[in-house]
Symmetry: C2
């Protein structure tokens, strides 16, 4: 992963000032356009379409600790819902003309019979991260490779000039909060949130689980070992997806707290990875904001979403695409014969 292109960014900033609008009047939309130019190394940047939403699904042994009111079967049931087109991310992706690819990287139940799923199961769910490493390093690397494979294949085939992160996994806000705590140094109580809707007692359990997991995780300089200790298979796949997207210089629109956990791991592996990422929204999970501040990204949307699946990222997609089109399609003062102030 190379650093993004400062010359292209400067050219885009200068072009913004020649377009028929007061300087800076398009605010964050201008900033996104400049970043897209830096990512692509081109001004104006290519429009980030078509877009792919890859929904990585995996289960979490930590559900044995009582950190969520949802049964683990829901992960596999939702995989069926995704391929049937009935989940929120499907509805939003259709409206934004993005494709959805569902990837089984670690669902506990058997989903082999489901057509339309990319079957890349590494394990039938992770181990219980409170008690032992969730994955071995080899298993984590296998999941990383799944994500990288999906991103690289989509970009190489021309199916995607924009990657959108998606995921499903009952229990995965616990693993994500643990990873964000580990990589940002913030406390379990600060990063843990109520996820899909848990009560005070369950939240206290979640914080204790994360504390125990951090206590038994060695803090050597090996992000993959920390990822294996705490992370989920779908989170590891997202790390690979983000890194491969950044290596291909394609914008990656990052969703909520799960994707933000993957982003901090990706950035620990490749310190320039975040330069290719756009934070689609600010999840109402506290860990998401902590992770985004850690890597220095400002979210596009703030709609109090806490669903995951890629929903907030795909809602931001038309705005990101519009930012590129502003640089490609708007008239300059000279061309339009408009007087400057």
């Amino acid at each position: 992963v190379r650093a993004s292109d400062g010359a292209a960014a400067r050219a885009a900033a200068e072009l913004q000032d020649r377009l028929t609008k007061p300087r800076g009047a398009l605010g964050e939309l201008e900033a996104i356009g400049v970043r897209l130019a830096a990512m692509a190394g081109e001004c104006p940047p290519p429009v980030p379409e078509p877009a792919l939403v890859a929904v990585f699904a995996g289960d979490h042994g930590v559900v044995a600790e009582g950190v969520t009111p949802w049964p683990q079967d829901v992960t596999g049931q939702m995989v069926a819902n995704f391929v049937a087109g009935g989940a929120a991310v499907n509805v939003l992706a259709r409206h934004a003309h993005a494709d959805v690819l569902v990837v089984d990287v670690g669902v506990a139940s058997s989903v082999e019979h489901l057509e339309g799923v990319l079957h890349r199961k590494v394990l039938h769910g992770t181990r219980n991260l409170r008690r032992e490493p969730a994955m071995t390093s080899d298993e984590a690397r296998a999941a990383l490779d799944v994500g990288a494979e999906v991103a690289t294949a989509a970009v190489t085939r021309g199916d995607a000039r924009c990657l959108v992160t998606g995921e499903m996994g009952i229990g995965n806000t616990t693993a994500s909060a643990a990873l964000i705590a580990a990589f940002t140094g913030r406390s379990p109580a600060t990063v843990a949130g109520r996820g899909t809707g848990i009560d005070d007692a369950m939240l206290a359990t979640k914080i204790a689980v994360i504390s125990d997991a951090l206590d038994r995780t060695p803090y050597f300089d090996d992000p993959v070992a920390v990822l294996a200790s705490l992370g989920g298979l779908e989170i590891a796949a997202l790390v690979g997806y983000i890194v491969a997207g950044a290596a291909a210089r394609v914008p990656v629109i990052v969703d909520g707290v799960i994707a933000c956990a993957a982003l901090v791991v990706a950035n620990a592996l490749c310190p320039d990875a975040h330069e290719y990422c756009i934070a689609g929204h600010r999840s109402s999970e506290p860990g998401a904001t902590i992770a985004l501040e850690h890597v220095g990204l400002r979210p596009v949307l703030d709609l109090e979403l806490r669903l995951g699946e890629g929903t907030g990222a795909v809602l931001a997609l038309p705005i990101v695409q519009s930012a590129a089109k502003i640089l490609r399609e708007m008239a300059t003062f000279d061309a339009a014969g408009v007087t400057e102030k």
Copy 2:
């Protein structure tokens, strides 16, 4: 304008809770869906498409006071840019599959030669609102009728199931701030902002101009008289457009501070008008936030935009449309065979 439909809103809120997601997990997107059902009186609500962006253009005599660094000719030049498709709102509307209709309701220069403009000029710009009423009440009513005609015709012909506000007029942040001050009771210094980019001296002038205009404006219970005293022709047209959209029970997506000024006037005329309005974004102009708080609307986007033209509203359009599709297309727990918590 009738009140929106509480029964349809309740039905939509109940439907949200049966869809395959944790309750409330789509945050503001769920709230928008509920409001769309209330506006239409139907659950699920129709998808608000096709959408029309009506860009009303008018000039302001108050530019003689030195409240903007832009020459008045820019209004007519930008009208030409709009019909040529080169302005920001054109680029954004194309991406969102919305039509743009440019309406001359009061441009100072002659734009009669421009094809593609709806020619409804009431005056060649308003009078100087610091010194005298900007319009007579008859002129204000004529401009209101232009906006209402555009909205009603588009909805009746089936060209629009969603109305997006747009405008252009050098000097119109001054008129808008004066109207917001008049209808909310806030001080000129609180509502006035830097518009397209003015320095401290010009901002002080702008505040003095607004104070003088308010001092000579009678505060009787006649919103049209206050509108005529302070407002622009394009602002009056937007008031008519908003009221007619609300009367037709069609969602109106409101843009920045100019549209927010029209919204507070519309709400003074018809206290239920805001129930049919969605605030597309939070403009960086302070008056916009004051106006939205006055009518009780929360903006969808917050991207530090301060361009106008309809740009922030049309950026919010795909999100508003997605909110309706969530209610129409998502699977329920029962239908998808997903276990509830």
